[in-house]
C-alpha cells in the first residue's frame, strides 16, 4: 500500500503544472470561502456596533409603544423564576434622538448594572480606567461615540441635560450610551422603549457557520416572555440588519460558488490524470490491486490536493479579508479554518471521487450526463411546485446542472457537426483547426462547463448586486432621506419651516391604524406629491389612490390596479392600489396615502415626523432655530447616518465584486489545467502541421483561436444562464429569504465584464500549454515527411 501511495505522490510530482493548477484552484476557492466568512463576521460586528442597536451580545428585542415598566419587571420576574429558560440576560432599553453638543445623536439607555457586559473592557469603552461608572450611575455620565468628536472629561449638553462624557467608544456611530435614568432624562421619556434579551443558545449555529443564513431561513425564532410579550430575533426586528444579512447571505453563496467551481476543476484534473494513467491502472490490476483500492488512492490524491489548496487558501483568505476590510490585525477563527479545510478537502474528495467513477466505472458513456439532466429536470419540476427558499436555490442548481449536462455538450455537438459538415471545403490548416477544436470541446467539456458556470454565476451575482445597490439606495431614499427629521408630539408648522433660510422643502407625516378590506394595515399619511411618491418607486402624485407595501400585497393577495376599501374608525373609503412598494422586509402590511384622502376616515392619527430638506450641508443653525421654537421636539440630521450606511454597504459591494473576480480566476485555473492535460494529444496535430510546413506562428495562432473559441462558447452559453441566475436571485431567492424582491434590471456592464473576462480567461489559460506544445516541436520543419 505504501508503494502505491508513493507512486501516487511521484506521479503528482511528475506533473507539477497540473498539480499546481488543481491546488491553486482549490486554494482560490477556499480563499473566497474563508475571506467571505471573515468579512461577514467583520460586517456583522460592524452592524452590532454601528447598526440599529449597537449593543453586542443581545439577540432578541421586544418593542412596543405601549411597553410599561410593569411589563418589563413582570417579564423579568418570570424569567428569574425560571419560566423562560431560553433567556440568559435581559435589560430594558430606551432609545431616541437628541441634540448632543449641537449634533443630532442617537441616545441609547439601558440598565447599566444588569447589562454589565456593555461596559466590559473592549466592548465599547476603549479604556475602562478613564471611565467613571459611579458618575454614570448617579450623575449624568455618558459614553459617547468617537464620531461625535467629544473627549472624556467634557461636559456637554444632551437634550436639556448637562452630561459628563466619562469615556469615548471607538466603534459606535453617533451614539451616546447612558444609564437608564440619564437616558430617560435626555430623551424626556418615562417608559422603556424596548426590552433586550439574550438567548442562552446565542446565535444559531448555522448563523455562526453561514452568516446571513438564519435570516434567510427564519431560524432565529422568537422567544415568548409571557403575558403577550414576544421577543423577536434582532435579525428579524431590524430591517437594516436584515438587509445587511441578505447581502452577507448572497456573498456566502458567491464564496461557496468558487469552491463549487474548484470541485469541478479537481474533477476535470483528476479525470484527465486517471485517463492518462490507464496503462498504470492495468498493471496495478494485474498485480492484484482491486478497483476499490485504486479508487481510494485517487480519492486520497484528491483529498491531498484539496488539503494543500485549503491550507494555502485559508491563509490567503485571511489576508484577502484583512486587505478588503482594511483590518489592522490578522483575523482568523476556528470556524473560518474549519470551513476552509472542510471545503477544500471536500472539493478535492468529491471531485476526485466523481472523476474516478467516470474514468473507471462509467467509461465515457453518455449515461452520467443524462442522469444529471434527468435529475435537473426533476429538481426543476419539484422547485416549480414549492415556494420555499430551498426551492429557489434548487432552481439555480438545476439550471447549472442543465448547463453542464445539456447545454454545453449540446453546443459542442452542434458546433462539431456544423464544422464537420463543411470540412470538405476547408484546407488542411482549417480542417486541423476544426478537428482540434471539436476535440478540445469534447475533452475539456467539464472545464468549459465550469468556466461557463463561473461566468454565469459572475453575471448573475453581478446583475443582482447592481440591482441590490440600486434598491439599497432606494431604501435609503425611502428610509433615510438626506434631511432633517423632526420628531414631535404636536404638529410642526410646515409653512414656518419653509420660510427659514436654506429650507427647500418641509412636509409632515402621520400614522394610524386601519382595516384594508377588513384586515389590519398600518397607514402612513403624507402629502402624496411626486417627490414623496418617488421615494416609494412610484413616479406620479397620489390622487385618491394609495401605495401598498409588498408584504401587504403578498399577505392579502392584492395587485396594482385593484380596488380596495380602507376602513378607519370614522368611516370607509374606496381607493386603488397605484403601486406596490418594497418595504424591505418589514413584516406588517402598510399603505401610504394622503392626509387629504384618508385623514377624514381615520381616528387617532399620530403625528409621526416632519422632514426638512435643505440646500446647504450645515444644518446646525436650522436645528437651533427649530429647537428654540419646538423645545420638546427631537431633531436629527439623517445625512450622517446615511453616509455611514452608504459607506458600510459600498464596502460590501466591493467585496462582492472581488469575489466575482475570484470565481473567474478559479475557472481560469481549471481551464489551464484541462488544456495542459491535452498538450500531449495536441502535440501530434501540431507536429503534423509543422511537418506540413505550417510555421510555428501559424500553429500558435491556430491554438489561440481554438482557446478563444472555447472561451467564446463557454461565455456565450453563460449569458442566458447568468441572466436566469440573476432573475431567480432577485425575484425568487430574495423575496423568499428576506421578504422583498429586488427589482430586476439588466446592467450591461455586469453582463459584459464577466463575459469578456471569461473569453480572455480562456485565452490566457491556453497560452502556457500552447506555448509548451509549440516549443516541443523541435527545430526546422520536417518537409521531407510530406
Amino acid at each position: 500500500m505504501l508503494s502505491l501511495i508513493l507512486g501516487q505522490l511521484r506521479y503528482l510530482a511528475r506533473t507539477p503544472g497540473a498539480t499546481a493548477a488543481s491546488v491553486a484552484a482549490t486554494a482560490l476557492g477556499t480563499m473566497s470561502v474563508v475571506a467571505v466568512h471573515l468579512l461577514s463576521e467583520d460586517i456583522k460586528a460592524g452592524l452590532d456596533s454601528a447598526g440599529a442597536l449597537p449593543i453586542p451580545g443581545y439577540t432578541h428585542v421586544v418593542r412596543g409603544t405601549d411597553l410599561t415598566w410593569d411589563a418589563y419587571f413582570d417579564a423579568r420576574d418570570r424569567w428569574r423564576e425560571g419560566h423562560v429558560p431560553r433567556v440568559e440576560a435581559m435589560t430594558p432599553l430606551v432609545e431616541g434622538q437628541a441634540l448632543v453638543n449641537g449634533r443630532s445623536s442617537r441616545v441609547l439607555g439601558f440598565d447599566m448594572l444588569v447589562a454589565g457586559r456593555f461596559i466590559a473592557p473592549g466592548a465599547f469603552i476603549e479604556d475602562p480606567s478613564t471611565g467613571d461608572s459611579t458618575r454614570m450611575l448617579l450623575g449624568d455620565g455618558v459614553v459617547a461615540a468617537g464620531s461625535l468628536g467629544l473627549a472624556a472629561g467634557e461636559t456637554v449638553r444632551a437634550g436639556e441635560v448637562a452630561v459628563d462624557v466619562v469615556a469615548v467608544s471607538a466603534d459606535a456611530g453617533n451614539v451616546v450610551f447612558a444609564d437608564m435614568p440619564t437616558a430617560l432624562r435626555i430623551l424626556g421619556r418615562t417608559g422603556p422603549g424596548a426590552i433586550l434579551v439574550r438567548d442562552r443558545g446565542g446565535e444559531p449555529a448555522i448563523e455562526r457557520w453561514f452568516p446571513g443564513s438564519s435570516a434567510a431561513f427564519d431560524i432565529g425564532t422568537a422567544i415568548e416572555l409571557g403575558q403577550g410579550l414576544t421577543a423577536q430575533a434582532l435579525d428579524e426586528a431590524e430591517p437594516t440588519r436584515r438587509f445587511a444579512l441578505a447581502i452577507l447571505f448572497n456573498l456566502g453563496a458567491l464564496g461557496a460558488l468558487s469552491l463549487f467551481v474548484a470541485a469541478f476543476l479537481i474533477y476535470q484534473a483528476s479525470y484527465s490524470n486517471i485517463s492518462r494513467r490507464q496503462r498504470e491502472r492495468e498493471r496495478l490490476a494485474a498485480i492484484g490491486v482491486g478497483p476499490g483500492t485504486l479508487g481510494l488512492l485517487y480519492v486520497a490524491e484528491g483529498a491531498l490536493i484539496g488539503f494543500a489548496g485549503a491550507a494555502a487558501g485559508t491563509l490567503l483568505g485571511a489576508l484577502l479579508a484583512g486587505y478588503l476590510a482594511s483590518m489592522d490585525s490578522f483575523a482568523m477563527n476556528s470556524i473560518a479554518v474549519a470551513k476552509g479545510v472542510l471545503g477544500g478537502v471536500g472539493a478535492g474528495v468529491v471531485g476526485a471521487f466523481l472523476a474516478t467513477r467516470r474514468a473507471t466505472v462509467m467509461r465515457q458513456s453518455a449515461g452520467p450526463r443524462w442522469v444529471v439532466a434527468a435529475l435537473a429536470a426533476t429538481l426543476l419540476a419539484a422547485a416549480a411546485m414549492s415556494d420555499t427558499l430551498a426551492a429557489a436555490f434548487a432552481l439555480i442548481v438545476a439550471s447549472c446542472m442543465l448547463q453542464f449536462a445539456v447545454l454545453m455538450p449540446g453546443v459542442a455537438a452542434v458546433l462539431r457537426r456544423a464544422f464537420t459538415a463543411r470540412m470538405g471545403r476547408l484546407n488542411l490548416l482549417a480542417r486541423a483547426n476544426v478537428r482540434r477544436f471539436a476535440l478540445l470541446l469534447g475533452e475539456v467539456d467539464i472545464a468549459a462547463s465550469a468556466l461557463s458556470i463561473a461566468i454565469a454565476a459572475a453575471i448573475g451575482m453581478g446583475v443582482q448586486i447592481e440591482n441590490f445597490r440600486a434598491d439599497f439606495y432606494s431604501m435609503l431614499d425611502q428610509r433615510l432621506w438626506r434631511a432633517l427629521y423632526i420628531e414631535s408630539e404636536r404638529p410642526v408648522d410646515v409653512d414656518w419651516l419653509e420660510s427659514l433660510p436654506g429650507v427647500t422643502d418641509a412636509r409632515s407625516y402621520g400614522r394610524a391604524e386601519a382595516l384594508l378590506n377588513g384586515r389590519p394595515v398600518a397607514v402612513t399619511l403624507g402629502t402624496g406629491d411626486v417627490l414623496e411618491s418617488r421615494r416609494y418607486g412610484y413616479g406620479a402624485a397620489l390622487e385618491g389612490d394609495v401605495l401598498l407595501s409588498e408584504a401587504g400585497a403578498l399577505e392579502y393577495g392584492l395587485e396594482v390596479g385593484e380596488g380596495i376599501e380602507v376602513e378607519g374608525a370614522r368611516g370607509a373609503r374606496r381607493a386603488t392600489i397605484a403601486h406596490v412598494f418594497s418595504d424591505y422586509g418589514a413584516p406588517s402590511p402598510r399603505i401610504v396615502g394622503t392626509f387629504t384622502d384618508l385623514a377624514q376616515i381615520l381616528d387617532g392619527i399620530a403625528f409621526e415626523r416632519t422632514s426638512v430638506l435643505t440646500a446647504g450641508e450645515d444644518t446646525a443653525a436650522l436645528q437651533r432655530a427649530i429647537g428654540e421654537r419646538y423645545p420638546d421636539a427631537h431633531v436629527r440630521d439623517q445625512s450622517e447616518l446615511r453616509a455611514l450606511a452608504e459607506k458600510a454597504f459600498d464596502r460590501t459591494f466591493e467585496v462582492a465584486e472581488s469575489l466575482n473576480l475570484i470565481a473567474l480566476i478559479v475557472a481560469i485555473a481549471g481551464l489551464y489545467n484541462a488544456l495542459s492535460a491535452l498538450v500531449l494529444r495536441a502535440r501530434d496535430d501540431h507536429r503534423l502541421l509543422y511537418a506540413a510546413g505550417v510555421s510555428r506562428v501559424s500553429i500558435t495562432a491556430l491554438a489561440v483561436q481554438q482557446n478563444l473559441l472555447i472561451g467564446a462558447v463557454a461565455a456565450a452559453a453563460a449569458v442566458p444562464l447568468g441572466l436566469v441566475i440573476a432573475y431567480v436571485l432577485c425575484a425568487e431567492v430574495n423575496p423568499r429569504a428576506f421578504g422583498w424582491s429586488i427589482s430586476f434590471g439588466i446592467d450591461v456592464a455586469a453582463v459584459l465584464t464577466p463575459t469578456l473576462l471569461g473569453i480572455v480567461a480562456a485565452l490566457l489559460a491556453g497560452l502556457v500549454p500552447t506555448w509548451r506544445g509549440i516549443k516541443a516541436l523541435g527545430g526546422a520543419p520536417e518537409h521531407a515527411l510530406l
Binding site: 423579568r76 420576574d77 428569574r80 448594572l113 444588569v114 457586559r117 473592557p121 461608572s133 448617579l138 437608564m180
Partner: protein, 380 residues
C-alpha cells in the same frame, strides 16, 4: 466579619467594593445563573474607591434595636445579610445552602428616584449536595430599586432580582427564603430558636486600626423546606446561621484575608470564630469568636482564647491552595473541622471558598456541622 475584602494585592479594598467593581469590569457575568465565571477580581477600576465622606462610621458601642436593625443602614457604606444552613433529607443525605445579600452605597447621597439609587446589591446563592459531591452557585447584581433589590426592616424582606428572604407574617420570624435559579433552587422556612447574639464588644466588632463594624448573629435557626438541584427535588430540614453586619471602613493594607467558622455542635452549643490573616503571617490582634451555650448564654472569645491551624490543603482551580481541614483549639477543647466536600469554591466574580464542614474531635468522633469561609487565597 465579612465586610472586609482580603485583597491580597490591594489591601484595604472591601469585599463589596471589590465585588461590585469587578462586576463592572467583567463581561457578561451577571444575569447568568451557574458557575465557572472565572472570578477574575479587578478591583475599583471603574466603580472606584468611593469616598467614606458622608457615611457614618462604626466606632462606638450602640444597642441593637429590632426589627429596625434587621433592615438596611444606608448611611453606612456596606452591609450584608448572610444565611447558611446545613440540611438533611429523610434518607440522611447532607446538603448545604448559602444565601447572601450584599449592599454597597456608591455615594452617601440618597439618590433621586427609583432608578437613581446610590445602593447597589450583589446576591450570592449556592447549594452543596455532599453525597453527590456537587456544589452550584449563582450570582445576581442590580441596583437598589423597588422591583429589583432592596431591604425592608418590618416586616422583614430582603430581595434581589427574583430571590427573596422575607418574614412570612407581621413578625420578623419565621422567614421564608425563595431562591430559584436556572438549575437549582430552594424554598425554605426559617424559624428563630435563639435570640440574636451581638459579636465583638456588645456588637461593635473591631477589624483593624480604626476599623470596625456592627455585627450580630442568629445561631441555630430551624430550617425546613424544599431544595432542588437539577431535576431532583428533596424535602430537607436542619440548622441555619444568620449573620448581619454593616460598616464603612475596610481592611488595612497588611490584612490579606480571613478564615471564618460558624459551627453548630451536637451538644447544643454554637461556636463562631474568625481570624484575619496578615501579610507577614503574624496575628493582628483582631481575631474574635463567640461561644453560645444551649441556654443562649454567650462568651466572647478574643484571639488569645483560641488557636486555628490548617491541617490539609486542597489545590483547586488555577492552583489555588485552600486549607480545607483545620484544627481549632478553644481552651482545653480541640475541634477538627473538615470540608464535607473539597470543592465548594464560590466561582463568582469574587472567588472564595464557602461550604459545609464537619466537626469532630481528634479521635474522629462527630461533634457537629457548620459552615466555613476562606477568603484571600486567590491571586486574582
Amino acid at each position: 466579619m465579612r465586610s472586609f475584602r482580603p485583597g491580597r494585592s490591594r489591601g484595604a479594598a472591601t469585599l463589596l467594593a471589590g465585588g461590585l467593581a469587578s462586576l463592572f469590569a467583567l463581561s457578561g457575568c451577571n444575569d447568568a445563573d451557574g458557575s465557572a465565571r472565572g472570578g477574575a477580581l479587578r478591583v475599583g477600576t471603574l466603580l472606584g474607591e468611593s469616598s467614606a465622606a458622608g457615611f457614618l462610621v462604626a466606632d462606638t458601642v450602640r444597642p441593637f434595636e429590632f426589627p429596625r436593625d434587621h433592615g438596611a443602614h444606608p448611611r453606612f457604606r456596606q452591609e450584608w445579610w448572610y444565611l447558611t444552613a446545613v440540611l438533611e433529607d429523610a434518607a440522611g443525605g447532607e446538603y448545604g445552602a448559602q444565601f447572601t445579600l450584599f449592599r454597597r452605597a456608591v455615594s452617601a447621597d440618597a439618590g433621586d428616584g427609583p432608578w437613581r439609587s446610590a445602593q447597589v446589591y450583589l446576591g450570592h446563592f449556592a447549594l452543596t449536595d455532599v453525597e453527590r459531591e456537587q456544589h452550584v452557585e449563582a450570582e445576581r447584581f442590580v441596583r437598589g430599586h423597588p422591583r429589583l433589590a432592596g431591604v425592608r426592616a418590618a416586616p422583614f424582606a430582603a430581595w434581589i432580582d427574583g430571590w427573596r428572604l422575607a418574614s412570612t407574617g407581621a413578625a420578623t420570624w419565621p422567614m421564608r427564603l425563595q431562591a430559584p435559579a436556572r438549575t437549582f433552587g430552594v424554598d425554605l422556612v426559617l424559624s428563630e430558636t435563639r435570640p440574636p447574639v451581638p459579636q465583638g464588644d456588645r456588637g461593635l466588632s473591631a477589624k483593624g486600626p480604626g476599623a470596625a463594624s456592627y455585627y450580630y448573629s442568629v445561631p441555630r435557626i430551624a430550617v425546613a423546606g424544599t431544595l432542588r438541584i437539577g431535576d431532583r427535588e428533596v424535602e430537607v430540614s436542619g440548622l441555619g446561621w444568620f449573620d448581619r453586619e454593616w460598616s464603612t471602613s475596610g481592611l488595612d493594607a497588611e490584612q490579606i484575608g480571613w478564615d471564618w467558622f460558624a459551627l453548630q455542635l451536637d451538644d447544643g452549643r454554637s461556636l463562631m470564630l474568625f481570624q484575619i490573616r496578615r501579610r507577614d503571617g503574624a496575628r493582628g490582634g483582631y481575631d474574635q469568636g463567640i461561644l453560645v451555650s444551649p441556654d443562649g448564654a454567650a462568651r466572647t472569645l478574643g484571639g488569645a482564647d483560641f488557636a486555628l491551624s490548617p491541617e490539609r490543603v486542597w489545590r483547586g482551580h488555577a492552583g489555588t491552595q485552600w486549607p480545607v481541614r483545620w484544627r481549632i483549639t478553644v481552651g482545653e477543647e480541640v475541634f477538627v473541622v473538615d470540608a464535607a466536600i473539597k470543592d465548594q469554591v464560590m466561582d463568582t466574580s469574587i472567588r472564595y471558598w464557602e461550604g459545609v464542614v464537619r466537626v469532630s474531635d481528634p479521635a474522629a468522633r462527630s461533634l457537629g456541622r457548620g459552615y466555613m469561609e476562606l477568603t484571600g487565597y486567590t491571586d486574582d
